[in-house]
Amino acid sequence: MENKYAIESNNLSIHYGSYTAVKNVSVKIQPQKITAIIGPSGCGKSTLLRALNRMNDFVPGCHVTGELFLQGQNLYGNQIDPVEVRRKIGMVFQKPNPFPKSIYENIAWGARINGFKGKMDELVEQSLRSAALWDEVKDKLQESAYALSGGQQQRLCIARTIAIQPEIILMDEPASALDPISTLRIEELMQELKKNYTIIIVTHNMQQAARASDFTAMMMIDDNRAGGVIEFDETKKIFTRPSDKRTEDYVTGRFG
């Protein structure tokens, strides 16, 4: 079976109890591209992102309807193991959240629990190199990850995710807690990473979406406060000649 898309959703809806937070999302994400999810705050961007690797399993009262396919397997099917899903779809969070351990351990731990049998030192080095962090930390691998700057911590979190070799990396506003220079480095890194990985990033920063992504999904809430994807297309097109009026208003800053 040939899979054209990295991940594919079909009428995916996310509910909290009786309230529907995200409604009927059907998107097909291209492999080895960066897809940005944009939209006003509260429109369910992060909720949707977390649904992609079943992180919302931990939110009490949250349940998902519809289908989400990774390689022809519905991630919300009965037989699916959420731990396996998260191992294949890694995630980088809004605020850097390294483990309170050494830099080395931050990377080695995920590999170890996932049964990595290779040479750990090499994995750590390669992951750090891929995350463009190696040169800065190679002499202090045994020091606490908390000693790093915010931007370095976030790149460490990316390295940690790369180390378990996922198919897809989800990024939830990964640069929102960082200064402009660190932000730029993360964006450069994303361009590097997309050679090997599919990246889906939530951002509230329009310029970031425009500069860094290949595809953009525009989300908006409807009258029932349920978010949905109103337009999904190549980034170029979204930012130059969007087909939806609301998208145009939003990307040109005329929104609200």
């Binding site: 991630l75 731990v83 396996e84 090499e122 390669q126 190199r129 070799q165 198919e167």
Partner: protein, 316 residues
């Protein structure tokens, strides 16, 4: 290290390897989860065991043809060995000592809570709070020693000969000191849960600090303070060692705090400490008393929790 020796994505050209996301059997994980669940549910069994065991023995007591509910709640002499089953002989002492304890601990606890929450500087708090914590951490048997050998002699020199060596007054006072930290810390929690905006509103209308504390903050925290009071009563009713040491040994239906008398808890401690044969009426009667104690404190604790929860919802 040479870079070309490594490449994480050696399989990158065929990026979409087949893999299986089907659920794995994680036996260890399931066993652990079961064990944790058992640990969590054990507390329920403790409660069931308490109710069952106390209830079973208490039933034996009440099933004795000699024991009637009329006698139990209607008479004032307690000596199961010779057929006297008037629980009031013990309840009276419990009421008197608890009442004195609350009389002492409520105003003192509340006043210190107001001082700590509204007045004390950060530094003063950091000294005063630990003192209250130490007071709360002293074993009750030590309080018993203090009541018998310090407070009672002092009271004797004030009141004179009417005060018996063992008396409810001294035990009640010391119990009040023991409960003070509890009431204080619970009231302080209630006071500090009152939103700042309320205080600021009062200040903005020209109120002084005391006017704000007593007329705005205190009424707003009243339900939390009520919860503290109820927990305090529950603690006083269940307290054993102070009364066992200082209040007297021997049931005595009296509401005079200068008299010696035995509380429900004190009675259980004294009788069970002696030689006691299982299945005797003395033995089963203790369980009847304990069951009453348990139910009484349970109701008090539940009311208090209910108040606290309601109160919390209002401000959060």
């Amino acid at each position: 290290m040479k870079e070309e020796t490594l490449n994480l994505k050696t399989l990158e050209t065929q990026s979409f390897r087949q893999f299986d996301l089907k659920k794995k059997r994680r036996t260890g994980e399931s066993i652990i989860q079961t064990l944790l669940f058992l640990a969590g549910i054990l507390s329920i069994f403790v409660t069931i065991a308490i109710v069952y065991e106390l209830g079973k023995e208490a039933m034996l007591f009440f099933n004795d043809p000699d024991v009637t509910l009329g006698k139990f709640f209607g008479t004032t002499k307690w000596q199961p060995g010779i057929g006297q089953y008037g629980i009031w002989a013990l309840v009276s002492a419990t009421l008197v000592t608890s009442f004195i304890a609350i009389l002492i601990s409520l105003p003192l606890g509340l006043a210190s809570a107001i001082y700590l929450s509204e007045y004390a500087s950060f530094k003063a708090r950091s000294i005063l709070k630990p003192i209250l914590e130490i007071l709360a951490g002293i074993p009750t048997v030590v309080y018993g020693y203090f009541a018998l050998l310090f407070i009672t002699p002092i009271l004797k020199s004030i009141i004179g000969e009417q005060l018996q060596v063992y008396n409810m007054l001294s035990a009640g006072i010391v119990m009040g000191i023991m409960i003070l930290p509890l009431i204080s810390s619970m009231s302080e929690d209630a006071l500090s849960a009152v939103p700042r905006s309320l205080r600021e509103a009062a200040y903005a209308m020209g109120a002084t600090k005391v006017e704000t504390s007593l007329q705005v903050v205190l009424p707003a925290a009243l339900s939390g303070i009520g919860a503290a009071l109820i927990i305090g009563i529950s603690r006083a009713v269940g307290e054993t060692m102070i009364v066992a040491v200082a209040a007297g040994s021997g049931p005595n239906f009296s509401f005079n705090p200068l008299d010696a008398a035995e509380t429900m808890t004190g009675h259980i401690a004294r009788i069970s400490g002696g030689d006691l044969s299982y299945n005797s009426i003395d033995y089963t009667s203790l369980f009847a008393i304990a069951l009453m104690l348990f139910l009484l404190t349970l109701v008090l604790n539940l009311i208090s929790q209910w108040i606290v929860n309601r109160f919390r919802e209002r401000y959060e």
